[in-house]
């Protein structure tokens, strides 16, 4: 299999670098490099949005969620994604109308303008940074652990991590956002094809859908309903996840920038419908792989199961494609997140010198990537749950962002950004175990979100007479 992997891997990396070199010639200024010229078609938009949204977590986390916690995993991600796509056409329209009016460079800069102070942008940037870096890190770690397990002795885990980040940085720095978008399209297709081939192969191995679920019902019926054998998929967990996922297009900068650079509103609408279809198609086979795991490998650890189901039990050439698909899934999300953090940094900077701003942004991207790499070496391996924490963390920015999009400019000021910063810090304290993770019977993230949501609709800034620039 190693030979197959080397061949497929070389073709894949050559393709990524080739696209970047091609786009490098087209990039003329910051707008081309950071915003892909601001004219994304619906087809490219669909693939880059989907590839950014569906990460390693989909390919590795979801099958394991189905295997260990049962069919509630479908609601956890797929149903939540349906709320997301409707939110894109509902709120996305208003977001574009307000954001594009003044020239959009990133959510942090947009918040600065909407609130008339630099605190709002700083909070948006801080929230994105603090919750995206761990998310990028777990993508890197997940794939590196997995590949190291598939090829023991070939390279240490950290070596795979460095290789992954190096490839990602190379083509991102070379070609900018347009290169990332084209590469996302390639990677999204690879992910979809690979996951279906493996999913169907797993389904065939358990005798088909009906036979598989009949076998599972006899062995572990709790997997066929909620909340699952370990009680994870409670209504509160699922609702909290859905709310967090629904807000991703506006709270995670790598996604919101893709809404902002769509060619037209109609292109964005078509893209949203396409993402809905993509979501169903990409999540369904993970249920098949999970079913296979529940029957064949119920007692293995997550990585042992995934290594068997995705690599060892597959023909060598397909296994090589699986590994490339995994790399694609990780890279396509991580590069977008790192690049978006660079764009957010750029949106906070003030200078007339476009070249200097671009230089600082490129350095920022490298710094963010190295930070994520460092974090990946100490991160845990609960991919799905860490991803959910990232979604929940960034969702705390939503009330401030929505108030920035929908609210009247007059009467904003510092109140909501300060409260949002407080909410993020309280949530961080709970993640570090310093305070309890529930409040009044609610998960703390949900409780903070409700408090911030309430504050966002109250005209407190206006009452206190805060000024806006």
């Amino acid at each position: 299999m190693l030979q197959s992997l080397i061949i497929v891997g070389c073709v894949y990396v050559a393709l990524l670098i080739g696209v970047s070199l091609w786009q490098r010639r087209i990039n003329e200024d910051s707008k081309d490099y950071l915003l892909a010229g601001g004219s994304l078609s619906s087809v490219l938009g669909l693939f880059t949005f989907a590839a950014t949204l569906f990460s390693t977590f989909t390919l590795l986390g979801m099958p394991d969620l189905f295997r260990v916690h049962g069919v509630g995993a479908w609601h956890f991600l797929a149903v939540s994604d349906m709320a997301l796509i409707f939110g894109v056409i509902w709120i996305g329209y208003h977001f574009r109308r307000v954001a594009l009016r003044q020239g959009y460079w990133g959510m942090a800069g947009f918040m600065n303008r909407q609130y008339g102070n630099r605190l709002a942008g700083a909070v948006a940037f801080f929230g994105a940074f603090i919750f995206l870096i761990p998310y990028v890190a777990i993508q890197i770690k997940g794939v590196s652990d997995f590949v190291a397990l598939a090829f023991p002795g070939l390279m240490p885990v950290w070596g795979w991590s460095v290789l992954l980040v190096a490839i990602m940085l190379l083509y991102s720095e070379l070609g900018g956002l347009k290169a990332i978008i084209y590469n996302d399209a390639i990677q999204g297709l690879i992910l979809l094809v690979v996951i279906w081939i493996v999913g169907l192969s797993c389904l065939e191995s358990v005798g088909g859908l009906e036979a598989g679920y009949t076998t599972l019902e006899a062995r572990e019926p709790a997997l066929l309903s909620v909340p699952g054998p370990n009680g994870l998929f409670t209504p509160q967990f699922l609702i909290g996840s859905a709310v967090a996922i629904l807000m991703i297009p506006f709270t995670q900068p790598q996604v919101s920038i893709r809404l902002a650079i769509m060619e037209t509103d109609r292109a964005m609408y078509r893209m949203a419908v396409g993402v809905g279809v993509f979501a169903i198609f990409v999540i369904l086979p993970t249920a098949f792989i999970g079913l296979y795991g529940s029957i064949r490998y119920p007692d293995l650890t997550a990585f042992e199961f995934l290594s068997r189901a995705l690599v060892v039990d597959q023909p060598p050439t397909l296994a090589a494609f699986v590994l490339i698909g995994l790399l694609a899934a990780a890279i396509s999300t991580a590069d977008s997140q790192i690049f978006a953090l660079g764009t957010e940094l750029r949106s906070l900077l003030r200078s007339e010198d476009d070249r200097q701003l671009l230089r600082v942004t490129k350095v920022g991207i490298v710094v963010f990537a190295v930070t994520a790499l460092g974090f990946s070496l100490v991160a845990g391996d609960q991919l799905a749950l860490l991803a959910r924490t990232s979604f929940a963390g960034t969702s705390l920015l939503a009330p401030m962002i929505f108030a920035g999009i929908f609210g009247e400019r007059r009467g904003r000021g510092y109140f909501l950004p300060s409260m949002t910063l407080g909410g993020v810090l309280v949530f961080l304290a709970s993640l570090l175990g310093l305070i309890p993770d529930t409040c009044l019977g609610l998960r703390l993230d949900l409780f903070i979100l409700m408090v911030l949501g309430t504050l966002a609709v109250l005209p407190i800034g206006a009452v206190s007479g805060e000024s806006t620039a």
Binding site: H75, V79, T264
Partner: protein, 81 residues
């Protein structure tokens, strides 16, 4: 927001989306410990969740057609430029 009031098709889609997504997380779609009825061997929670997703994609598709901002902003932007 005024546009949505003048556009009953869009408003209906929004109300339906909110209702469907709310019901999605009630015991109607997530009955604790219930497997039956099955479809093609799939337990109730799974197949009803898949059906719900298909309905939501169709609804979103319809909503894009009746959206009050069907490119209006873009057209205005093009005119301005």
């Amino acid at each position: 927001m005024a546009a949505s009031i003048k556009n009953p098709g869009w408003k209906t889609c929004c109300v339906l989306a909110v209702v469907i997504m709310t019901v999605a997380f009630t015991p109607l779609f997530l009955p604790a410990g219930t497997i039956e009825p099955t479809v093609g061997g799939m337990p109730y929670t799974l197949w009803s969740g898949i059906a719900l997703c298909i309905v939501m994609v169709i609804l979103t598709g319809i909503a894009t057609v009746v959206h009050p901002g069907g490119g209006a902003f873009t057209q205005a932007k093009e005119k301005a430029s």
